[in-house]
């Protein structure tokens, strides 16, 4: 191997004048987490709405949910980001399009919204499965008690369904974090992007990518551990995972 290793590179100043190379990577990590957090909130809100719609007796709502899921699931995330970033501003009325293009931080908002909608389809599928796995008697009992549909979902079905799908939701959250790396293509300098630019400035390819890899593994470990605690905390007595 004629690769020149230099692990000290992390403590050398970066050419952007924003501190060391390590600071550069850490700022990328922060941006990754911010983007993932906003995207996850969007995914949870829209995913829950659509997931519930798919279980409603109304055929129109079911059909709308079906279209939503198929639309966001059958296109690569990269193509969806391009649609939001390059295509949407052109199709809007001129003033709105210009305003959109001149937004500060456009890659950040585009990435968060694009990844959020992309993941919302997956959250919806999980939630639909979760609600579907509940015994039919629960909905009936709720109705018999005089609860409206809204109340039945709010107090009976959703609290159970969300607990059941907590493990798959954890992996969807991890997917959201990983998917932020795709936003490198619209110029978002998240962790992978910063590792890539560190490689371009310093030519220390393997050090840069090793550091990024370790940071991703760390984030994964933290999320998995936190979700285990959450699962135990909200577990329902009498269920397999309960006390």
């Amino acid at each position: 191997m004629n690769y020149h290793w230099n692990w000290g590179i992390f403590f050398e100043p970066n050419p952007m004048g924003t501190g060391t190379y390590l600071d550069m990577l850490l700022s990328g990590l922060v941006l990754t987490l911010k983007t993932a957090a906003l995207a996850w909130i969007i995914a949870l809100i829209f995913g829950s709405l659509v997931g519930v719609m798919r279980t409603l007796p109304s055929r129109g709502a079911d059909w709308f949910g079906f279209c939503w899921v198929e639309f966001f699931r059958n296109m690569p995330l990269l193509v969806q980001l391009f649609l939001w970033f390059f295509v949407l501003p052109e199709l809007l009325p001129k003033a709105a399009g210009t305003w959109l293009k001149q937004l500060p931080n456009a890659p950040f908002w585009t990435a968060a919204i694009g990844i959020g909608f992309f993941m919302s389809a997956r959250v919806a599928v999980q939630l639909q499965a979760g609600i579907g796995s509940l015994p039919r008697g629960q909905k009936m009992a709720a109705t018999a008690l005089g609860l409206t549909t809204l109340q039945a979902y709010r107090y009976v079905l959703l609290p159970m369904a969300f607990r059941i799908i907590l493990p798959p939701l954890t992996s969807e959250f991890l997917n959201t974090i990983k998917n932020t790396a795709v936003a490198i293509t619209i110029g978002l300098l998240e962790l992978t992007g910063q590792a890539r630019s560190m490689q371009e400035f310093s030519f220390q390819v393997f050090e840069a990518f090793t550091a990024a890899t370790l940071l991703y593994l760390l984030v994964n470990a933290v999320v998995v551990t936190a979700m285990r605690f959450l699962e135990r905390w909200v577990a329902i007595p009498g269920y397999i995972t309960g006390k």
């Binding site: 191997m1 004629n2 690769y3 198929e70 639309f71 699931r73 059958n74 296109m75 690569p76 995330l77 990269l78 193509v79 969806q80 391009f82 649609l83 390059f86 295509v87 052109e90 199709l91 809007l92 009325p93 991890l174 990983k178 998917n179 932020t180 790396a181 795709v182 490198i184 293509t185 992978t192 590792a195 890539r196 490689q199 390819v205 393997f206 990518f209 990024a212 890899t213 991703y216 593994l217 994964n220």
Partner: protein, 230 residues
Amino acid sequence: MFANLDFDVIRRALPYLFFEGMRFTLTLTALAALGGLVFGTALALMRLSGHKILGRIAGVYVDFMRSLPLVLVIFWFYFLVPYIGQWVTGASRPISVGAFASSLITFIMFEAAYFSEIMRAGIQSISRGQPAAASALGLTYAQTMRYVVLPQAFRNMLPVLITQTIVLFQDTSLVYVLSITDFLGAASKVAQRDGRLVEMYLFAAVVYFTISCIASFGVRRLQARIAIIR
């Protein structure tokens, strides 16, 4: 809003888009799915072998690959494969590997982690009596797997395997970060050349959407058929 769009640019670029771009995408998808399935099955067998070290190695590999973003893995292999090639062949300099070979290796190694989890679930869904019966008949471990367990596991998991291949088909678009001419790469090159981003990206979206939709519709039909037979 569609007034000043020129959809003729798509018609002119069609041969390039499909014969260059889509061919790359489909070849990469097919070979990566095949390689990933073989390597993934091997990983699944390692995990279920009951051998402590082998199981451990496969487990760590799968968990490791599944916690990294695909984009980062693509970059890793793009820079790493020339050095691995140098090490394997004993050459004096890092060997140059083509864009196709580099991305194929990446996707096989990455997808194997996902395919291995599917195959593991498939193998575990076979009742215990079957391998027991096979060994009572005098079949070796290899024969049991080859003739009894794997064919059924593969068959039971076929819908999931195809779904994962659809995901793989969509994920191959990420080779864009290496400026490779896959379908999206071709569309993007035409888009930049002619200044027609809106038309080309819309068209790419429609093509990806149509292919994935048809494929997942096929999976649903297959699933229904398999469910009736079992």
